[in-house]
Amino acid sequence: MAQRKTRKRYIMSRHEEIFKTVESLRWNLGDRLHDDAVEAIYAEAARISARSVTVAGEAKRPTFDQTLDRLVTNRWMGIPMMVLILAIVFWITIEGANIPSAFLASILLDAFHPALKQFGDNVLMPWWLSGLLFDGIYLAMAWVVSVMLPPMAIFFPLFTLAEDFGYLPRVAFNLDSLFRKAGAHGKQALTMAMGYGCNAAAIISTRIIDSPRERLIAILTNNFAICNGRWPTQILIATIFVGSLAPAAFSGLVSSLTVVAVVMIGVLTTFVVSWGLSKTILKGEASFFSLELPPYRPPRIWQTIYTSVIDRTLIVLWRAVVWAVPAGAVIWLVSNIHVGQESLAEHAVRFLDPVGLAVGLNGVILLAYIIAIPANEIVIPTVLMLTVLVARMAGVGVGAGVMFELDSELATAQVLKAGGWTLLTGINLMLFSLLHNPCSTTLYTIYKETGSAKWTTLSAMIPLALAFLVCFAVTAGWKIFG
């Protein structure tokens, strides 16, 4: 027994001795252990490759790549070329999406929706059930699909093709000096461009930025690139309220210039907010810049279409549809549940009106932005439905809680002006649509990507606060100078 105890004590003292030795030896190791390990790995890799890899011919870059790169980074040619290529991509997207969009709308909205309603009547479904299911949920879903799917299915493959060819990294390369001044990464140019298609997809695409700080900046500011759900709003309002001020011959041009101005305000806001973020809350986040410029290669067309449709379009569309279901239900319910003489929607609009009017909007617009948060595509239909509901206009629209759009801009203008809209309302709506919080699909994606409630909250609150602030300032200025 006693012997065992001494033995144990002996082992303990040996342990301590060894630990002491280890601790004193650590200091001889030096502080460059990581560096040394990486250097040794590269030295070993270089030795192995030198022994076993033979390179046929010259190891230089292909002259084709060099020539193209010289052209792309040319002081005079680089930027105009980029603008031209992006303009072509956007033009194909907008023009090309019209046809399938109209086709989908004619099937899902014009043919299938009445058929469903008819079916409800045939099986003696109570009016509220058929209203909730078909006018609320189905319609919101169908609307999102028909407006969202075609532009994404065109834009994303085109974008991915340019990426696959190797052109997009060069764009980031050229624009980096601009973004560097705002504390951001050149690749943010690409995620911004992606945002003009869909902010949710753009948030996923910020994965290409490997530096934590710059990636967060790209995520938090992506909202200021107007997505394809907001383009129609911008174009419609610009046409109705601004274009109509100009002589008929120029009204088209004036409306287009207005939309371009809104986009430019968005770009400017992106830079200002990026700069502000990098100087304040993101100041301490680790940051690193590197940008690989892969060799040019012929794009793999089928593979690209497949991956961009599966990875980008369908995932985003699925998330939007999932969010559209509750939104459709809410939109229908608030318009049809009555408290006292009025529906919930009317109560809410009355409640929101003071705030809305203070920032040059109105209660209808604010309510529409709250209940249509799943997708910007359904904001205008909801606005129209609510305007008609609140103003109790007879003969317009299809009933309480049923979203609709009017065939002509003139008819839309009449409804909106009857709802009390002015030029100021129009301008503020365009600004609000540009700056306000991202849709819930995007917010959900931000939460998935950052895994943080804090960044998700901030990415909703910063734009929202900015939107209210800007609209308020514009309204105040308008009242003072107008």
């Binding site: 250097e39 590269y42 980074t73 892969p294 003071p354 606060a465």
Partner: protein, 339 residues
């Protein structure tokens, strides 16, 4: 109706401010107002005495009062308390740590230096705020926290100023190197330690680009000024600056390896990497090495972006763009690459 809206808006604005500026000076000062807590004072006192012992300077009641910013009465009370806790002992007029006092002091110093290393490696918090942040953090983290932080950082040996981080068992090596004034003209030395207090002197050293690990040549040494050469530029250091630098002698060949940087490479020309600057730390350093930028790598400048920055480099068969600020941190051998 209107009043309630104003209240709601005000509350929202307040929340926004709280979320947006969590590190503002106002809040920091409010948080820092608990500094008078007895435990924090005790720990700061032990740290000061340890610092004196380590650097071989006598430590007295007056020096401690000065370091803590207390009057003599309160300092005396504090010392009595420390003696009562058997953490320190009087040695004539001088103060010294007992065994348990030394272990306590080392555990506080360990957290301080680990935290500075963490800020340097894993965040973009600027150099001048490292010390201040670590001063707060050293009183908050437990020994277990410190151990897990150390593990996360890969068990670093030195803090970013070149001070050794005491090991878990409280082992600290003897200080190495000599003050810069001890070296003569023409000698090539490597800085091993930069004292971070007082902050104004440290700010000037950071501004001059002098970090632990920087190699410099002493070009001139006079009674008032030392002139050193770094990356081909002369820097004049007054005595209060050079007194805060400790250095060791290195072979003169080292100096030649740190005179040219990647940023000076002309398009179409290649160079051989000699070293990554010690100013490049943590994530920055790891990523550069991951790209294959290690001593001996041949790099060719390929093209510049439309605005002239960044520049694309051919590194091990891949084209990688780096910004000028990064290229400045990669040293090249003086002679051109032959291949």
């Amino acid at each position: 109706m209107n009043v309630s809206w104003e209240i709601i808006v005000l509350i929202l604005a307040l929340i926004a401010v709280m979320v947006l500026v969590p590190r503002s000076d106002f809040l920091a000062r409010w948080r820092g107002s608990h500094r008078d807590e007895p435990r924090i004072l005790r720990e700061d006192a032990l740290k000061h005495i340890h610092h004196c012992e380590y650097s071989g300077v006598p430590c007295t009641l007056d020096s401690l009062a000065g370091a803590l910013g207390l009057d003599r009465n309160r300092t005396a009370n504090l010392l009595d308390e420390l003696v009562g806790r058997k953490l320190i002992a009087y040695n004539g007029m001088q103060l010294s740590l007992t065994e348990s006092g030394r272990n306590y002091a080392l555990s506080v110093v360990r957290v301080h230096r680990l935290w500075e290393r963490y800020l340097a490696d894993e965040t973009a918090v600027e150099e001048l705020r490292w010390h201040e942040e670590a001063e707060k953090q050293e009183h908050r983290l437990s020994a277990e926290d410190a151990e897990s932080l150390s593990r996360r950082l890969g068990h670093p040996l030195y803090d970013p100023h070149g001070d050794p981080i005491p090991s878990q068992g409280g082992v600290v090596p003897e200080p190495k190197g000599k003050p810069l004034q001890a070296f003569g003209q023409g000698e090539v030395v490597r800085i091993v330690h930069v004292e971070d207090e007082p902050a104004s002197v440290y700010a000037q050293l950071v501004e001059a680009g002098l970090f632990p690990g920087t190699t410099i040549k002493i070009a001139g040494s006079g009674p008032e000024k030392i002139i050193v050469v770094k990356e081909g530029k002369s820097i004049g250091l007054t005595m209060n600056l050079s007194a805060n630098l400790t250095a060791v002698r290195v072979p003169p060949a080292q100096f030649k390896k740190e005179q040219r940087t990647l940023a000076s490479l002309d398009l179409g020309v290649s160079g051989v990497v000699s070293r990554i600057s010690p100013a490049c730390r943590g994530l920055q350093r790891r990523r550069l090495m991951d790209l294959g930028i290690v001593p001996g790598t041949v790099i060719e400048a390929e093209m510049k972006a439309v605005g002239g920055d960044p520049t694309a480099y051919l590194i091990r068969g891949a084209i990688v763009a780096l910004r000028r600020d990064q290229a400045r941190l990669v040293y090249l051998e003086e002679e051109r690459a032959t291949s």
